[in-house]
């Protein structure tokens, strides 16, 4: 690796913040190397990244939470220290986050307005939670509906990061019958770049990576059709699952406590959604790389996928029907019978009419007139 130069420490930059916290250049470079790996960038980029981040001004970030469970914030803040996550969060200027900030009420809202004014067009907007469209009163902050606050804050944002499946896809609040009329950020904001970081909750390091990318390159990473960073959501859980060899050999656990389950066989038959779920759990894992759900013996529930909440029972294999239709079949048969009775009635009248039109035949009638 090229030996990067010690970046100059400029006031108000990330570099200054790092220096104040006593983070050595070596440590910072290590962080950047990890990030480039996560972002699937060539390792040689680490130096450039370190330099870019050091020189970058501390990015103003406004974090809005709507219909959510705070799981996403928990996911990030509960990470053990010292972590990449903490570092990065310390390096930004989190100007508004109603769970984390000390200020409340008027002061809090004022902080948001101030940040929007000071950094117009440059601040990063992070959203977690879905937006209720059914009734503005379903969810408000300081008397402002989620929708109004989102639209107002989005206007001056450089980009939006929709964190968690709720913000990215509507999430659990959107589950059938979707009582609040929940929608995702992307459903209503159409004129800003949006990075979806789904997951219920998302993996902390994935968020960090996205932020680092933004800080380094001043733009958004390469996204897939659903607005997710390809570097984290490019493969399915199943593609990287360590139980995959069992799957390929057709070795499946039938129950959670059978011998096969103890042997760590594949959880497909127990409803694992890994094959259709695009996320990085199997590689990054959770809790400082300790484990991930499948490693703990439970199938993937597909939490980072849109509509995972309505994709059938969690413990039903993907090859099984979502719901039993036996009751519907009775109704269908009844409908078919009703139609059948109508057709039969029609057929019988056709036949009766033909019978009525039949005049007893005579031999003369065996020939045609012209014959």
């Amino acid at each position: 690796m090229k030996h990067a130069q010690q970046p100059d420490i400029l006031p108000g930059t990330v570099g200054e913040g790092l220096a104040q916290r006593g983070v050595t250049r070596r440590e910072f470079l290590k962080l950047c190397t990890t990030l480039t790996a996560l972002l699937a960038l060539p390792p040689s980029m680490a130096g450039a990244m370190a330099e870019a981040i050091s020189k970058a001004r501390r990015q103003s970030v406004i974090w809005l939470s709507f219909q959510e469970c705070t799981g996403c914030t928990e996911s990030i803040t509960r990470s053990h220290s010292p972590t990449l996550e903490n570092l990065i969060f310390d390096l930004i200027s989190l100007d508004y986050h109603h769970t984390l900030q000390a200020a409340s009420a008027e002061a809090a809202e004022h902080a948001r307005e101030q940040a929007m004014k000071d950094n117009d067009g440059k601040y990063l907007l992070i959203v977690d939670g879905s937006i209720p469209m059914g009734n503005p009163g379903f969810s408000t902050i300081a008397g402002i509906s989620n929708y109004d606050m989102l639209m107002e804050t989005a206007r001056g944002a450089a980009a939006i990061v929709a964190v968690g499946t709720c913000a990215a896809h509507g999430g659990i609040p959107r589950a059938d019958p979707n009582p609040t009329g929940a929608v995702s950020v992307g459903d209503i904001v159409k004129d800003k770049p949006i990075i979806n970081v789904p997951g219920c909750p998302p993996i902390p390091v994935v968020m960090t990576g996205v932020l680092a990318h933004f800080l380094t390159f001043g733009g958004i990473p390469e996204l897939d059709a659903q607005g997710r960073p390809k570097s984290f959501y490019g493969e399915t859980i199943h593609d990287r699952c360590y139980r995959r060899p069992f799957y390929d050999q057709g070795k499946f656990a039938q129950t959670f406590d059978d011998e096969a389950a103890r042997q760590g066989w594949c959880l497909f038959k127990l409803g694992c959604k890994g094959p259709v779920t695009y996320n990085a759990c199997a590689t990054t894992k959770w809790n400082d790389g300790t484990s991930f759900p499948i490693q703990s013996g439970h199938g993937c529930i597909g939490c980072s996928e849109a509509n995972f909440w309505d994709a059938g029972p969690l413990y039903k294999a993907l090859s099984m029907p979502v719901s039993a239709t036996t009751s519907m079949l009775g109704a269908a048969a009844a409908a078919g019978a009703a139609a059948g009775v109508a057709v039969t009635w029609h057929n019988r009248s056709t036949k009766a009419a033909a019978k009525a039109a039949h005049e007893k035949m005579t031999v003369q009638e065996l020939s045609r007139e012209e014959k």
């Binding site: 036949k351 019978k355 039109a357 005579t362 031999v363």
Partner: protein, 434 residues
């Protein structure tokens, strides 16, 4: 009054029933029925595929009696059946189908194609698309009383002849007799042996029987052409006579379709079950034989085989009887391949032999019979249908085959043990006029 397309289509609509709807629904277009039909196997022409002969009827079913077909018709997506089309189908429905029923035994999904062709002929006849010869035969059957124009005096002449030959009285118009005996025109004209054989057998068995002056003809052109109204009229004559003479049983002669007409279609044409029984002569002979009333002596030493007439075996259920009877009088009986209910048709049933337009096709179709007979190596062929017999004789002659055709009843009569043990002239030698 004349035949019209409307009447034809109307008849199609009348005849389509649940079996036909299920048959058309089930057809998988596998073409196996072709392999069962002698008109296809002997010509190799695809158009003779049995189910294809029903195409116009199928379309009427689809358009009139299915939901999707009806919608298609409303939207003008389906072609209606036209006169030109029926004219094109006429030779398929009449000339190339003997209603032999073989295809119905083969179709893997169980379609009774023969049943459908019989019904389809109703619409063909009503629309004026029946062959002229068959129209003429039916007209004679209705107006004269017999398709070949035979009248009672001709029968009387034969009765005289038989009485002179055998010395046995042929009873006529005998009320209270057990059996009413019918004949086919063919027998009256070409095979007088039948009546004489019967008189002798019945005499020996002590059976009370009679002929009826106004109901001697068993054949029914109305069935073959597919005109149920006319068929009913023809059957009605026999029913009236049987009821007038209070017989217990009507004996259908050695004629295939006459048996079908009377035994299976008769009550349905009349719209009521019969108060008397209907039996084919072979059934009666078999019963007499079982009861020990039909005694024969000696056996025919010639190698011989038996041709199962379609309407008697496959479409009539009389299969074992002829074999039991033959085992009494034949020393060297050889079964044909496919004998019994899978036997091949002579090629002339179902009105085909009455339709001169079909002559060359019929002779072509005869090839299968020819090879069947040749394989047995016999020169004597027994059968139990006068129509088969004429058709077989013609086919054999056409192929320069030296094979003699004999009615089973006559063969039996030849070996009959008679009480008065007077020598009897051999009836087996007589060839018909046809």
């Amino acid at each position: 009054m004349s035949a019209t397309l409307e009447k034809g289509i109307n008849a199609f609509k009348e005849v389509i029933d649940a079996p036909i709807a299920s048959f058309f629904s089930s057809c998988v277009r596998c073409g196996m029925c072709a392999e069962a039909c002698l008109f296809y196997t002997e010509t190799g022409e695809a158009k003779y595929t049995p189910i294809h002969k029903l195409e116009p009827l199928r379309r009427v079913w689809q358009q009139e009696y299915t939901l999707l077909g009806g919608l298609g018709k409303l939207l003008g997506l389906t072609r209606p059946v036209t006169d030109a089309e029926l004219a094109e189908w006429e030779p398929l429905v009449y000339d190339s189908c003997t209603l032999c029923g073989r295809c119905s035994m083969i179709c893997p999904v169980g379609n009774d194609i023969t049943y459908m062709i019989r019904k389809m002929r109703e619409g063909m006849a009503a629309s004026g698309h029946a062959p002229q010869d068959m129209v003429a035969a039916t007209t004679r059957a209705i107006t004269i009383g017999s398709p070949m124009g035979v009248k009672w005096p001709a029968v009387q002449a034969q009765i005289k002849h038989v009485q002179a030959d055998t010395g046995i009285e042929v009873p006529v118009e005998r009320e209270g007799a057990d059996y009413l005996v019918l004949m086919s025109s063919m027998e009256i004209i070409n095979f007088p042996e039948y009546l004489s054989a019967l008189s002798r057998i019945f005499k020996q068995a002590g059976i009370s029987w009679t002929l009826a002056q106004d109901a001697f003809e068993a054949t029914n052109s109305g069935i073959q052409i597919g005109a149920s109204d006319l068929a009913g009229e023809i059957v009605g004559r026999i029913v009236v006579a049987a009821e007038r003479l209070k017989v217990k049983c009507v004996i259908s002669p050695e004629c295939g379709h006459a048996y079908t007409a009377l035994r299976w279609e008769g009550p349905n044409l009349m719209g009521r079950p019969f108060g008397f029984e209907v039996k084919h002569i072979l059934e009666v002979l078999d019963e007499l034989h079982k009861a020990g009333k039909l005694k024969t002596k000696g056996k025919d030493q010639r190698p011989l085989t038996y041709h199962d007439p379609c309407q008697i075996a496959r479409r009539g259920g009389v299969v074992e009887q002829p074999r039991r009877l033959l085992s009494e009088v034949a020393a060297d009986f050889r079964e044909m391949s496919d004998a019994g209910v899978m036997n091949w048709c002579c090629g002339g049933g179902g009105g085909v032999s009455a339709n001169s337009r079909a002559d060359s096709l019929r002779l072509q179709a005869f090839k299968v019979k020819k090879s069947q007979i040749e394989a047995t190596g016999v020169q004597t062929l027994i059968t139990a249908c006068a129509n088969c017999r004429i058709v077989l004789e013609e086919g054999l002659e056409h192929n320069h085959m030296k094979v003699e055709v004999i009615g089973l009843t006559e063969l039996l009569a030849e070996y009959l043990v008679e009480d008065n043990s007077t020598p009897v002239p051999s009836p087996a030698g007589g060839r018909g006029l046809g």
